[in-house]
C-alpha cells in the first residue's frame, strides 16, 4: 500500500502547487487590476483612514474633515454650503468627485507623491499626519458679494453665473454659478442618502450641479462687439473713425433687417467706433463685421480664447476644472464665402456665437492688462499637513496675447466710455476707473433675453485690479444693466479684499 500512498502524496503536492500558482496569478499578476477595480471599496476606506486636508481661502477652511466613530474615520463637510459649491466640488463616498476636491484629490488625501516623505515619517513615528491643504486664490468678500448679489438680483433671474479674475495674474477672485447646491449631503457616509441627494440635484430642471461659470455657454450678445472692435482697430479703423450705422441694416442676400435696441441708438448714418461701442450700436457693428469678413472676426475671437477646448482652471500646469470651449459658430456659406446675414448677426453676438462667463472675464482682463491674457487658476498654494511646508506656489503664466498694447489701450478707453457715458453706467466704482461692455442676447423664441456684462477696474495708477463677467440667464428687460451693477459690486469687493491671502 505504500506505493499508492506516495502517489497520493505527490497528487496533494500537485494540488497545493495549483493553489500556489493560482494565488500567484491573483496576488501578483492580477493584483493591480483587482486593487483598482470599481467594485473594490478597500482603497476608498483606506482613503478615509487619514484625515483629508482642508481647502481654504483667505485663512478660512471651506472644505474640512472631522473625525467620526464609523468605519470611515473622517466625514467631509462644507461649512459654507452653497456658496463655494462650484469651486470646491465635493468628495462623496460612492459617487464621482468633482471640483478642487477632484483636481487636488491626491494632495488632499495625502497619497500624492509629493507627500511621500510624510508617509515614510508616519511609518516610523506611528503618527498619522493627514493630507495636505489646498489654498485657493478666492477673495472671500468677492465670492460672498458675487453669491449674494446674484441670488438677490433685481430682475428675478434664477440662473446665472459670475466670475472675477485678477487680470495681472489670472487668479480667480470669485466663481459663482446660480442655482447652487449644498455639497455636504453628497459627502454623507450613508451612501443611500448621498445617492438620493445626488439624484435629486441631477433631476432638478435648473441644473444646480452645472458649473455655469465655466462649462455652460450662451450667446454673448453685444459683449462680442469688443472682439469685432478689436479686429477693426487692427484693420485700419481708429477709435474715432466714423463707421456706417443707421436705424436699420439689412445685410445683402438676407431679408431680415438688423435694428438697434432702441430707436434713439445711432440713427445717424455714421458714428465713430467709440460711440458705436458706447451706445452698443447693432447696425454699426453688423456692418463692420460684414466689412471685415468672417475670417478676421473669427481669428480675433480665437485669439481672445474662443475655440479653446482644453482649458482647465485649477492647478497651473496640472489638472483643473474643465472649461467649455466658447464658439463663434459658422458665418460662411457652403461654398466657403462669407454669409453676410450670418456674419452680421454673429458680429453682434447672436446666431451661433456662444461664450462662457470665464471667456468674457478673460477678454476684459486681457484688455485691462495691456493685451496680455493670463491663464486663470484657482489653486494658489499647496501646504503640507504640518501647515508650514509649501509644496507648490502658483507662478502666473501668460496664456496668450490677444491684442497689442496699443489696441488694448484703445479698447480700454472705449470700454471706459461705455461705463462713463453708455450702457454700463451701473458698474461704476468710486475712486476707480471702470470699463466694460453690456450684452443682451436673444435666447429661444418667446423666452426672455440673457443679460451680460464683462468689465474691468483700474486703480488710480491705471493698474488693473479685477476683471469680471456676470451673466443672468433669461433675465429679460434690464438684465444687462443689472449684470453691470452686480459686476461693479463684485469688483468693489475684490478691490477691498483682493484674495490670495
Amino acid at each position: 500500500m505504500n506505493a499508492p500512498l506516495r502517489r497520493v502524496g505527490v497528487v496533494l503536492m500537485v494540488l497545493f502547487g495549483l493553489l500556489f500558482a493560482n494565488l500567484n496569478w491573483i496576488q501578483a499578476y492580477k493584483a493591480d487590476e483587482y486593487r483598482n477595480s470599481d467594485y473594490n471599496g478597500r482603497v476608498q476606506v483606506a482613503e478615509y483612514e487619514r484625515r483629508r486636508g482642508n481647502i481654504e481661502a483667505g485663512g478660512t477652511a471651506f472644505a474640512t474633515s472631522r473625525p467620526t466613530d464609523g468605519t470611515l474615520k473622517y466625514l467631509r463637510s462644507y461649512p459654507e454650503g452653497e456658496k463655494y459649491a462650484h469651486v470646491l466640488g465635493y468628495k462623496p463616498v460612492n459617487l464621482g468627485d468633482t471640483g478642487i476636491e477632484r483636481v487636488e484629490n491626491d494632495f488632499l488625501a495625502g497619497t500624492s507623491d509629493q507627500l511621500i516623505v510624510n508617509r515614510v515619517k508616519d511609518m516610523f513615528t506611528g503618527g498619522e499626519s493627514g493630507g495636505g491643504n489646498v489654498l485657493l486664490t478666492i477673495s472671500k468678500q468677492a465670492q460672498n458679494t458675487a453669491f449674494t448679489q446674484l441670488r438677490d438680483n433685481q430682475v428675478g433671474a434664477t440662473k446665472g453665473a459670475a466670475i472675477a479674475i485678477d487680470p495681472r495674474t489670472g487668479a480667480v477672485q470669485a466663481l459663482v454659478s446660480m442655482p447652487s447646491f449644498d455639497p455636504s449631503p453628497l459627502a454623507s457616509h450613508n451612501t443611500n442618502e448621498a445617492s438620493a441627494a445626488y439624484n435629486k440635484l441631477e433631476k432638478d430642471p435648473d441644473g444646480p450641479l452645472k458649473n455655469r461659470a465655466l462649462s455652460e455657454t450662451l450667446p454673448p450678445g453685444s459683449t462680442f462687439k469688443v472682439v469685432v472692435a478689436a479686429a477693426a482697430l487692427e484693420n485700419g479703423v481708429g477709435k474715432n473713425t466714423p463707421i456706417a450705422a443707421g436705424s436699420s441694416y439689412t445685410p445683402p442676400t438676407s431679408g431680415s433687417p438688423i435694428r438697434n435696441a432702441a430707436t434713439s441708438i445711432c440713427p445717424e448714418p455714421q458714428v465713430t467706433l467709440i460711440e458705436a461701442l458706447t451706445e452698443s450700436c447693432n447696425t454699426g457693428f453688423a456692418q463692420l463685421g460684414v466689412k471685415l469678413g468672417a475670417d478676421k472676426v473669427k481669428e480675433k475671437a480665437r485669439q481672445f480664447g474662443f475655440e479653446q477646448d482644453d482649458l482647465t482652471v485649477g492647478h497651473l500646469g496640472e489638472d483643473g476644472l474643465s472649461v467649455a470651449a466658447s464658439r463663434t459658430g459658422t458665418m460662411q456659406n457652403a461654398d466657403g464665402g462669407d454669409d453676410p446675414a450670418a456674419l452680421a448677426q454673429s458680429s453682434i453676438g447672436q446666431r451661433d456665437v456662444r461664450m462662457t462667463p470665464l471667456e468674457g472675464a478673460m477678454m476684459a482682463g486681457s484688455i485691462a492688462n495691456s493685451g496680455s491674457q493670463m491663464r486663470p487658476y484657482l489653486v494658489r498654494q499647496l501646504l503640507g499637513p504640518d501647515r508650514t511646508t509649501s509644496y507648490y506656489t502658483a507662478k502666473p503664466r501668460e496664456l496668450r496675447q490677444p491684442v497689442s498694447g496699443q489696441v488694448a489701450s484703445d479698447l480700454r478707453e472705449m470700454m471706459v466710455s461705455v461705463v462713463d457715458n453708455g450702457t454700463g453706467k451701473k458698474a461704476k466704482i468710486n475712486g476707480y476707473t471702470v470699463g466694460g461692455k453690456t450684452g443682451t442676447a436673444q435666447s429661444a423664441p418667446g423666452r426672455p433675453d440673457h443679460g451680460w456684462f464683462i468689465g474691468f477696474a483700474l486703480d488710480k495708477n491705471g493698474t488693473p485690479v479685477s476683471a469680471v463677467c456676470v451673466e443672468l440667464e433669461e433675465a429679460g428687460s434690464g438684465g444687462s444693466a443689472e449684470a453691470a451693477r452686480i459686476a461693479g459690486r463684485i469688483m468693489q469687493a475684490a478691490i477691498a479684499d483682493p484674495g490670495g491671502r
Partner: protein
C-alpha cells in the same frame, strides 16, 4: 526525558517502516516548536493591535498565552500517552489554530466601538468563542488519545461508525430547511442559537468505516477482470460499494446543495479505495463518475433547475464572477479583490478591511487573511497545511498495519483535499463551495472534528514510530483480540 531515553536503545527494524531509523520520541522538539508557534501567534496579535489601535496593549499576549497553555496541556498528554507521535503535527496545527483565533479577534476589534477596543476581553466575540472552542476541541482530542490507546481499536467499531457517519450526513438533508440551512447550504443542525455541522464529524466516522471495509475487501476489489487501454478494470459486480458512495455524495450535492462536501466524501472514498487496491482504474472510475455527475447536475440545473439550480448558479459564478459583481458574484468578487489588494506582501495584520468581505470568518477567512499577509504569508500558510498533510501520509507509510495505513492516509488526504476545495474555491480555481478552512475558520464543529482527526493521526504516528518491543507483544498489548487479526482477517474467497 525518561520516556525518550529508554526506547532509544532499541532500534526499530520492522519492514514497512521507512524513514524511521531511530525511535526517538522528539517530544522536546515538539515543545520548542510549539513555543515558537505561540510566539508567532503573540507577534501576530501585537502587530494587529499596533495597526488597529496605534498602540500595543499590555495584555496583547493573553490570547496567545491562553492557547499556549491549552496546547502545552495537549503536549503533556501526548508525552505520556503517545510519546512517539510525530513532533511536527501539534505545533503546525497549533500555529494555524492560533492564527485563526488571532484573525477572528482582529475581526472583533474592527467591530468593537473604538473606545472599547483596547479593553476587549479575550473571551469576547467570535475570537473569544473560537478560543473556547479550541479549549474544548483540544480536551476532546486529548480524551480520544486517552481512550484510543491503539488506532486499531477503532476498527472494532467500524460498522457502528459507518452507520453513524451516514446518519450524520443525512440528518441535515432530511431536516426541515429552517433547522438545517445556512446561506443556501443544508449542512447544519440548528437548535436555538446553537448550530453544529454533522458532516464534519461524519467525515471521520465514514473514513474509519471505509478503512475497515476496504482492508476486508481489498483482495476482491483489486481483482481485475478486464484490461482496457492498458488499465485493469474491476468486475462489474464489485462496483457496488463505489456506486453507493457515489450516489450518497450526489445526494449530498443535490439535497444539501453542497458541492464541496460531496467532492470531499467521494474523493475520500476513491482515494482510500485506490490506496487499498493499488488499482489506478478506481481513480479513473471515480473521476469519471464525479465529473460526469457534476456535469449532469450542471446541465440539469440549467434545464430543469429545482434542486440542481444552486449548483448551476455556483458554476456560473465560477465561470465569470464579474458578470454580476454586486449580487450573485459579490462574495467571490470581493474575495478576489481582497486577495489582489493584499498583493505580494499584504496590508499587514490588522491593516486590511476584511469587514468588506461577506463570511470572512468562515468560508472566506483565507481571503481575509490573504489581504493582510499577502502572497508570501498565504504561501507560508499553505506550506504549513502541506506539512500537516505530508506528516499524516508519512505516518501512514510508516505504520505497520493496513488499517492504520488506510486510516492515516485517508485522513491526511481528506484534510489536504478540504484545504484545496476551499482555498481553490475562494481563489476561483474551482467552483466555490461552502467548506470551512481547517483550523482557521470560526466554528466549533469544524475545529473539533479536525482536532479529532489530528488526534487520530497522532495516534497512528505514535503507533508507527513506536519501537517494537519483543515481537508481537507491543501490538498485542493494547487492543487485544480482533484488531490484530484484521490484517490477516478472512477475506472473501475469489471465485474466478
Amino acid at each position: 526525558m525518561t520516556a525518550a531515553a529508554t526506547p532509544a536503545a532499541s532500534p526499530a527494524t520492522t519492514g514497512e517502516q521507512p524513514g524511521v531509523r531511530l525511535a526517538r520520541s522528539r517530544r522536546n522538539a515538539e515543545l520548542s516548536l510549539l513555543l515558537l508557534a505561540m510566539a508567532l501567534v503573540a507577534a501576530y496579535g501585537a502587530t494587529v493591535e499596533a495597526n488597529m489601535l496605534d498602540t500595543v496593549t499590555s495584555d496583547f499576549w493573553m490570547p496567545a498565552a491562553a492557547l499556549g497553555i491549552v496546547f502545552i496541556g495537549l503536549h503533556l498528554v501526548i508525552r505520556f500517552l503517545a510519546p512517539f507521535a510525530d513532533p511536527a503535527l501539534l505545533p503546525a496545527v497549533a500555529l494555524l489554530n492560533g492564527l485563526g483565533v488571532g484573525f477572528l479577534r482582529r475581526l472583533d476589534l474592527a467591530d468593537a466601538a473604538p473606545a472599547e477596543r483596547e479593553t476587549l476581553a479575550i473571551f469576547a466575540g467570535i475570537g473569544g468563542r473560537q478560543l473556547a472552542w479550541t479549549l474544548a476541541s483540544v480536551i476532546l482530542a486529548a480524551g480520544l488519545l486517552a481512550l484510543m490507546r491503539d488506532h486499531r481499536s477503532l476498527s472494532r467499531y467500524a460498522y457502528t461508525l459507518g452507520l453513524a457517519g451516514i446518519v450524520l450526513v443525512m440528518i441535515p438533508a432530511v431536516l426541515p430547511r429552517r433547522f438545517s440551512e445556512i446561506n443556501g447550504a443544508k449542512l447544519w443542525i440548528r437548535v436555538g442559537g446553537f448550530s453544529i455541522q454533522p458532516g464534519e464529524f461524519a467525515k471521520l466516522a465514514l473514513l474509519a468505516f471505509f478503512a475497515y471495509y476496504l482492508v476486508r475487501k481489498r483482495e476482491v476489489l483489486s481483482l481485475a477482470s478486464r484490461r482496457f487501454l492498458g488499465i485493469d478494470f474491476p468486475r462489474g459486480r464489485d462496483l457496488g460499494p463505489v456506486v453507493v458512495v457515489w450516489l450518497i455524495s450526489l445526494m449530498v450535492l443535490v439535497f444539501e446543495k453542497d458541492l464541496g462536501t460531496s467532492l470531499l466524501y467521494f474523493g475520500m472514498f476513491v482515494v482510500t479505495l485506490y490506496i487499498a487496491t493499488e488499482r489506478v482504474s478506481w481513480l479513473l472510475i471515480g473521476l469519471v463518475l464525479f465529473f460526469g455527475g457534476a456535469y449532469l447536475a450542471y446541465v440539469l440545473g440549467e434545464s430543469v433547475g429545482g434542486p440542481f439550480a444552486n449548483f448551476y448558479l455556483r458554476a456560473q459564478i465560477w465561470l465569470d464572477p464579474f458578470a454580476d459583481p454586486l449580487k450573485d458574484g459579490y462574495q467571490l468578487v470581493q474575495g478576489l479583490l481582497a486577495l489582489g489588494t493584499g498583493g505580494l506582501f499584504g496590508a499587514g495584520p490588522g491593516a486590511g478591511q476584511p469587514d468588506l468581505l461577506p463570511e470572512v470568518q468562515n468560508d472566506f477567512i483565507f481571503a481575509g487573511i490573504g489581504e493582510e499577509v499577502g502572497l508570501f504569508g498565504l504561501s507560508a500558510l499553505l506550506v504549513v497545511y502541506l506539512l500537516i498533510v505530508e506528516r499524516g501520509l508519512r505516518a501512514a507509510l510508516a505504520v505497520r498495519d493496513s488499517f492504520g495505513k488506510l486510516l492515516a492516509g485517508g485522513l491526511a488526504f481528506t484534510l489536504g483535499l478540504q484545504v484545496f476545495v476551499i482555498v481553490g474555491g475562494i481563489s476561483k480555481l474551482i467552483p466555490l463551495t461552502g467548506q470551512t478552512t481547517p483550523f482557521l475558520s470560526a466554528g466549533g464543529s469544524s475545529l473539533m472534528a479536525n482536532w479529532l482527526l489530528i488526534a487520530v493521526l497522532l495516534r497512528v504516528s505514535d503507533g508507527a514510530r513506536k519501537p517494537v518491543v519483543g515481537g508481537g507483544r507491543a501490538a498485542a498489548r493494547p487492543a487485544g483480540g480482533r484488531p490484530e487479526q484484521l490484517h490477516g482477517a478472512l477475506t472473501e474467497v475469489i471465485k474466478p
